[in-house]
Amino acid sequence: MPLQLHLYPLAIGWDWWLPPNYAVHGRAIDQLFIAIFWLTMVIFVGVEAGLIYFMVKYRRRPDRQKAIYSHGNTRLEMIWTIVPAIILIYLALVTKGVWENYRYAPNVDHEKAPKILVIGQQFIWNVVYPGPDKKLGRYLIYPRPTDLKWPTVPEGRSFSFPTVPGPAYLKEAEAIRVLNKYVDEINPLGKDFSDTAGKDDDWQSALNRPLEIPKGEPVEINIGSKDVIHDFYLPNFRVRLDAVPGMRGVIYLTATTSSTELEKQSRREYSLAEMETLLKDPKNEMRIAIDASSPHAEQDANGFLYKYPDKSKKKRGATIIREHAVIPLVDEDTGKPIVQELREIGVENVVAYAPKYWDIVCAELCGVGHSKMKGSIIVLERDEYEKKYGTPATTAAGAPSIVAVAGTTTQK
């Protein structure tokens, strides 16, 4: 069996248009965009053409002594006031419908829609699922040094000082230190453990995991933030809402295509020669997603990679290509073309496909690591989603696996 490489050429040729849309409400937004595009295009071409025509026609010429002496034409001006006004009012009315359908989702049963909580923090997206009871608990409630009681703790964890009833009885600096420890190690999302609705929430591995939603079903995505304003932007789903600390945003989203379907639709085989031509074209940036089940795939701290089977061949590390990295035309270490190296380890064909996930973009400046704040959204089949997030968790409760994350810029 020839070794199969999965890679996706990100852009074959120039893509000058809207990114593909996979959300139900997105169609109306795109149509409105296209309508405004053509409307403005017509006005643009008309006005600029008129301007150029006047510039040429009425240039200074020796045979003409004077310009036309005119102070204006009221009727003409009425026309070009009223016509744009009517067009713009119409546009505003159309916009209102599309906008309210997107923001208020009047056709969605708000009670029944699966709920997911997305919490932004510098520079990561946390994703909390409600568990089998389909109810989210209370989050983003953090203790303060002036509290009279200690914050709640999950079952099986202890966090109390028997002699002191609450942080307010400690010195301020000490209280802050203790509470920081609590937030950092026990409760980074500010969960209220006394809330019964949140008992079975899937929150412990919330950190930086992909957002997974079911296909064809309206999902209620709640958006919050721990520290600064982030912006939850899904370019491929026409969703954007700021994650504001102290506020909770709500977005309803129905995905039209599952990630597996996307992969299947876009799957295509390339021979190595074809791949080489693609690589040679500087417009194509190839990246690679390596199948974890592949026998040759190795995992290191930064993800999967392919290596030379025979490590003695090279001195400076034997990595050929790394997952998600841009594939260069030539291997920097050996100076040999990548395609040749792949051929040497037995690759004949490669299968290229679009990534299995779409980006979650933070589109509001949130600090130094802003451009690294990238999440991913994966669309599962409905039953797949139900199985994964709708049934009681198989992992034993206990020490949360959340790694304390930190933001970044600062804190001082």
């Binding site: 599309v98 309210e100 303060r144 954007r240 102290g246 997952e323 600090g367 930190a406 810029t409």
Partner: protein, 705 residues
């Protein structure tokens, strides 16, 4: 106030201004440095504005360098920063990138476009065009300029503060602006090299790079930031600027009789004042972000002082016969702009003051309860509302967008009429459109916040008002076209730039409709589409308007003609590379690429924009190079340019009636106006222009005063 002895009542008739100003012969200081003459102040504003234009432009090029070639060492600056220890290598770190675009926008908006349009042309043109000898409050006018200098100095000094300048964007949204003072000391370089995009497989752990970055953050000492450590460069720049401000005040307010005594006491007081105020500034502006807040608050005071002056001057000091509806549109636009400044800037001052207090950890106006940064609880009372800042900020900054375009609109109307040798098409509708834009400009601010989480229905309200503001803008565009129609167009450098203003404003206006639609804004908000839009309005329109105004009034300001050929070269190159740079950005925006992001290549959705970004960067560098002919022309013409006649463009308005440059007091005699401002190709006279002051027997026997 040393109000000038000019007839407040225009009906008072002709009055010998020359006499009133003869004893005004002042010493060297009062003539050249601390002048209260509106023309000198205008030119001083122009010099400062152009200086900041250069700085802001270079910052933009740095931004483009990072976006085009993130791995490439930055020329010159990279070596310097590496040697200074600010960067770990010669490539630009993310924090510097954030600071670069923040300061680019802040400088260009607050220290280039507004000062040049309002400060320079408000000062220079208003008295000349309305036939006044000077501003209503010349001393206040000078004070407005000298107050703007410390504001600029604090902004410049922030580059040399620990942690670098502000880097929370020119909007400085809290809570980010509360936090980011130490952005410059983040271990960005380390994290940037080791952080990988999240893998396809569920990978819950963070990689080593992140962990190390986090550790480095933890060890910061929260008490260290109040040191107020200012570098010598920052101190010197600020001391000089404050010394000049106090020097100006002392120059006019210390009157002890003896010249030497005046000078000595003035110097002493100025030095003392500068030292004391500098101490205070050092305490308040302990980092880049607080310096940013403080600088703009001070600049706001300067703007308000200017606006009061312009409004008083236009309402009270018009010469006989100069009715409101005989004012040139440039004066009208400055009049309406001044109203905007007067009503909006106090709100900005309030916002910035609240932000400054928040930033100093004293209040929580904009900070919500229970924030946790880097898993460290914030020991603050909370209870604030982050969106309140946005409402207040945009309540100023949306009118500010019109502050940055209305004066250019007015001046371009003047220049188009002169160039086309035709009256402005629909003079009164133009004024009504200006007023309409100004009024609507106050009720559209929240269209910057459609996606901010505010009530969606409120979004619809603001979408409708925003759609409406396109109507007066459309009226203006069509009227400018109407002005060109049937003209006898003389193409000068000024005229080319003015026409470019119209052409580019059309693009900027039309792209605004996309953002005005709340639904479409979901996709194009906060991305390169808005970057393209703002640059079409502020560069394509305002800056080409500024170029037009400089080419047009240079002969009057400096008494020399500019070189038309160099002007044409400058225009053509700027126009081409401007469009290559910014039109392409629309495509990035439609593709969804978001702005203020150093590494768009991280995102699979945008990685294919690599080559397009390189193209934009090259175009931007060429746009920067295209300004060289302008600099040569500006400086060269001052030295070698041919002497300018009084009325080189054969224009009708009052400033062309006096000598180039006009003397102190502007007019030998108070002019008396008989006509509207745009009597070109009038059938009443043989020439194709009829000056406002020209009296035609039989027609103007009963001049309306």
């Amino acid at each position: 106030m040393t109000a000038i002895s000019h007839p407040i009542d225009p009906a008072a008739g002709a009055h010998e201004l020359g006499d009133a100003h003869a004893p005004h012969e002042a010493g060297f200081l009062k003539t050249y440095l601390f002048s209260t003459d509106h023309k000198t102040i205008g030119i001083q504003f122009l010099m400062v504005g152009l200086l900041f234009f250069v700085i802001g432009g270079l910052l933009a090029l740095l931004v483009r360098w990072r976006l085009g070639w993130p791995e490439a060492p930055v020329p010159i600056l990279g070596a310097y920063m590496e040697r200074a220890g600010a960067w770990s290598g010669r490539t630009m770190p993310d924090d510097f990138y954030n600071a670069a675009f923040t300061m680019h926008a802040s400088l260009m908006i607050f220290f280039v476009v507004i000062p040049i349009l309002v400060g320079v042309y408000g000062n220079y043109l208003i008295p000349l065009k309305i036939g006044a000898a000077d501003m209503a409050f010349p001393f206040l006018n000078g004070a407005a300029f000298w107050l703007a200098i410390p504001a600029g100095a604090i902004m410049v000094a922030s580059f040399f503060l620990p942690g670098g300048p502000a880097s929370a964007g020119w909007t400085s949204y809290p809570p980010l602006s509360r936090l980011e003072q130490h952005a410059g000391r983040w271990v960005a370089a380390e994290a940037a090299t080791s952080a990988q995009p999240p893998p396809v497989t569920l990978n819950e752990k963070l990689d080593d790079g992140w962990q190390r970055a986090i550790q480095a953050l933890r060890i910061q000492d929260p008490a260290s930031h109040r040191q107020g450590v200012w570098s010598p460069t920052a101190l010197v720049v600020n001391f000089v600027s404050l010394f000049l401000l106090f020097g100006y005040l002392c120059c006019y307010r210390v009157r002890l009789g003896l010249l030497f005594l005046n000078f000595a006491v003035g110097m002493l007081l100025a030095g003392l004042g500068a030292v004391l105020v500098l101490k205070g500034i050092q305490y308040v502006a302990f980092d880049g972000q607080s310096a940013w807040f403080l600088s703009l608050t001070i600049l706001g005071f300067s703007s308000i002082m200017g606006a009061v002056n312009y409004l008083t001057t236009i309402t009270k000091l018009r010469c006989p016969g100069m009715t409101m509806f005989r004012l040139p549109l440039s004066v009208w636009s400055l009049f309406i702009t001044s109203i905007l400044v007067l009503l909006a800037t106090p709100v900005l001052a309030a916002t910035l003051t609240m932000n400054l207090l928040d930033h100093n950890g004293l209040t929580c106006f904009f900070l919500a309860t229970g924030r946790v940064v880097s898993n460290q609880i914030q020991n603050e009372s909370g209870g604030g509302y982050p969106l309140l800042h946005q409402h207040l900020f945009w309540f100023y900054s949306h009118p500010a967008v019109y502050i940055m375009i209305l004066p250019a609109m007015g001046m371009v109307s003047d220049i188009l009429a002169v160039g086309a040798r035709k009256p402005v098409f629909g003079y009164r509708p133009m004024i009504y459109a200006l007023t309409g834009i100004a009024f609507l400009g106050f009720i559209v601010w929240a269209h910057h916040m459609f996606q901010s989480g505010m009530n969606p229905t409120l979004g619809t309200t603001f979408a409708i008002s925003t759609m409406f503001i396109a109507v007066p803008s459309a009226i203006k565009v069509f009227n400018w076209m109407g002005t060109l129609w049937g003209g006898n167009i003389r193409y000068t450098a000024a005229m080319w730039n003015a026409i470019a203003f119209v052409a580019m404003f059309v693009i900027g206006g039309l792209s605004g409709i996309f953002m005005a639609s709340t639904a479409v804004d979901v996709h194009v908000h906060g991305g390169y589409f808005i970057v393209a839009h703002i640059h079409y309005v502020l560069f394509g329109a305002s800056t080409f308007g500024i170029f037009a105004a400089i080419y047009f009034w240079y002969p009057k300001m400096f008494g020399r003609m500019m070189n038309e050929r160099l002007g044409l070269i400058h225009f053509v190159l700027s126009f081409i590379f401007f469009n290559l740079t910014f039109f392409t950005m629309h495509i990035l925006g439609i593709g969804g690429m978001h702005r203020r992001v150093a590494d768009f290549r991280n995102y699979a959705t945008f990685a294919h924009f690599d080559s397009m970004n390189k193209f934009i960067s090259v175009s931007a560098f060429l746009l920067g190079l295209a300004q060289i002919p302008f600099v040569l022309n500006f400086i060269g013409s001052w030295i070698w340019g041919p002497k300018a006649p009084n009325n080189p463009w054969e224009a009708t308005t009052l400033e062309w009636e006096t000598s180039s440059p006009p003397p102190h007091g502007n007019f030998a005699k108070v002019p008396v106006v008989h006509h509207g401002p745009y009597e070109y190709s009038s059938p009443l006279v043989e020439e194709d222009y009829l000056c406002q002051t020209r009296w035609i027997p039989g027609v103007d026997d009963h001049p309306t005063h």
